[in-house]
């Protein structure tokens, strides 16, 4: 297991290096000078040259990339200040430290993910299992049909509708906003209830359908029938024998979703006007802010890779056959 983790972590670092390199070089393929952003409106060629020098853009791209990588590992001096490791550079747009900006934005994104995931996992898996248990019944038809309808909704459509209905028209809930949980847990909760619910609604549909189909598949397995043949009770067989096998495809998708959500639920954050990582990613891409774009990208990638490793470890935990290889 330890060897596996070391091997996978090493692999993940290689992938991160590759991602950063590709992003870095692709950015310079865009036919627009990133220095224009920092130079401002009344930019003269002389001023532009100064900005170039300040931002290090006068150097060859591979050299710039080398400085960038060294900065991540050891920190570096940049634009007249020191940027401690892990130094992801400073924004071209506003001169702020990329790493600390990301850290500022991260709690919101994390809160969104955790709250949403708890809801969609409980509701989605529960509904899916119930539908599988009563396959063909009215419950099953309602859950399956409902999830099909819900899965075709979009956050940017459902979100404003919910806000309109529950906040603006009736005032039952609060406008989505973010308060750190350490400041005021109640405000944290009430501000995020709507984003959680809307996000979870969309995701629940997917998890209901997947949990239902993989549960039905498992219930037809011979070992499930064999467990019934030895007199184990129906709920025991359902949870001990069938459920365990049905988790594998769910863990796979969950790993991808959580990784993606930690990298920023862009649509959710923009729909509810919340300033998290996803919002940061979108803004920095639009502003052609290389350090910020690259920083967010690496940060998100790191989470997706981390979740992948965790998922693989979970496989081994669920299925003993995986442990040997």
């Amino acid at each position: 297991m330890l060897q596996f983790l070391i091997r996978r972590t090493f692999g993940a670092f290689l992938i991160l290096v590759l991602i950063s390199a590709i992003t870095y070089f692709m950015f310079f393929a865009i036919p627009q000078d990133p220095a224009l952003l920092a130079c401002g409106k009344n930019c003269t060629p002389d001023a532009l040259a100064v900005v170039h020098k300040n931002l290090g853009l006068d150097q060859p791209v591979p050299v710039q990339y080398w400085h960038y990588v060294v900065g991540i590992v050891m920190g570096r001096d940049i634009q007249g200040g020191h940027c401690a490791a892990p130094c992801l550079g400073v924004s071209f747009a506003n001169g702020r430290n990329v790493w600390s900006t990301i850290l500022d934005r991260f709690p919101l994104t994390l809160s969104l993910m955790v709250g949403g995931a708890i809801v969609f996992l409980i509701v989605g898996l529960g509904a899916g299992m119930l539908a599988a248990y009563k396959k063909g019944s009215l419950t099953d038809k309602i859950f399956s049909g409902g999830s099909l309808v819900l899965s075709s909704l979009q956050i940017y459509f459902l979100g404003p509708l919910v806000v309109l209905a529950l906040v603006i028209s009736t005032g039952w809930l609060e406008m989505p906003s973010y308060t750190p949980i350490s400041e005021n847990p109640v405000a944290w909760f009430s501000g995020l209830v709507i984003p959680w619910a809307v996000m979870a609604t969309i995701f629940t549909a997917q998890y209901t359908r997947m949990s239902r189909s993989s549960m039905i598949e498992q219930l037809q397995e011979e070992h499930v029938r064999a467990a019934r043949a030895k007199g184990m009770s129906a709920p025991y067989v359902f949870f001990r024998y069938a459920w365990r096998g049905s988790l594998i495809p769910i863990v796979t998708i969950l790993g991808i979703d959580i990784g993606a959500l930690l990298g920023g639920g862009i649509v959710t954050e923009i729909t509810f006007n919340l300033a998290g990582i996803g919002r940061l990613a979108r803004d920095s891409v639009i502003q052609k802010d290389l350090p910020m774009t690259l920083g967010v990208m690496l940060f998100s990638s790191a989470f997706i890779l981390l979740c992948n490793i965790v998922v693989d470890a979970c496989y081994a935990f669920i299925d003993p056959r995986v442990r040997l290889s």
Partner: protein, 353 residues
Amino acid sequence: MTTLTKPEDAPAPTASESFLSVRDLNVRFSTEGGIVKAVNGLSFDLERGKTLGIVGESGSGKSVTNLSILGLHAPETTTVEGEIWVDGQDVTDLSRKQLEGLRGNKISMIFQDALTALSPYYTVGRQIGEPFRKHTGASKSEARARAIEMLGKVGIPDPKNRVDDYPHQFSGGMRQRAMIAMALVCNPSLLIADEPTTALDVTVQAQILDLLKDLQQEFGSAIILITHDLGVVANTADDILVMYAGRAVERGTTREVLKSPQHPYTWGLLSSMPGLSGDVDEPLRPIPGTPPSLLNPPSGCPFHPRCEFVDLVGGSACSTERPALPAGRGSACHLTAEQKRQVFIEKIQPRLG
């Protein structure tokens, strides 16, 4: 829910009669294509300590019959009619809880493929111990000790260490042994073995069959051995029931059925087995045609479209009138006893080599 209907006037067998007694069993599945008549009017008896071989092609209703004895059919789509008396108790009348108490305890089952029938997620020891804990109320450590004992009994070397292995760490033959240990852990009075050796190679097959015989002598269980391999029943079963299209078409003792078979379908089964002593160049003789669809079984004798002796009967009896299976030794066929004997001696026996 399962629909259970039972003729009111059917006399209930008393305890002195057979241990297992199946009376006029009908099993129907409703599918999208219509109603599948999987088992039709099946009756048979089995005493303690005896082995009944049920033989037939795939889809002849062998497995379905036995799943209904355990009540393991899918209740939404299956209808079971008739009576299944086990030790003086009609299991078709039992509640789900009562059935659960019976399964793995008084009646247990060995599945065909132990690789799929054992859960990959739990250790062999745990899976063997589970029904023991459930049915006897034993503690975890007692169940573990019992699992070790059972693994030793079925011939797993070093059971103390192998008890914590997962099924994928066992070889095919060992898995089947573990499966048998799991079925026998509560000393069942009735053991249903559904093709227990089909997935194994021939040398292991013989070992497993010997093991079943030994364990039967030790526990005095009744065994139903489902197979399509007449070689397997020849060595193991006391009685044979031949099934075709969801019906019993011939029954008798093993010796009777194998030495003087009466039904053309049994002849076909016997002829299609390659004889070891026979000529190498002798072609195999499969039964012509394919098993009938049970959605829409043939009229009259279900075997008549594939039977080569229809002309001997003459008239249209074979395609219009279904021959009955007499109680005791006999076969469901319109041929006269004399014709059966003659055809077997003249035409069939030479083929068997």
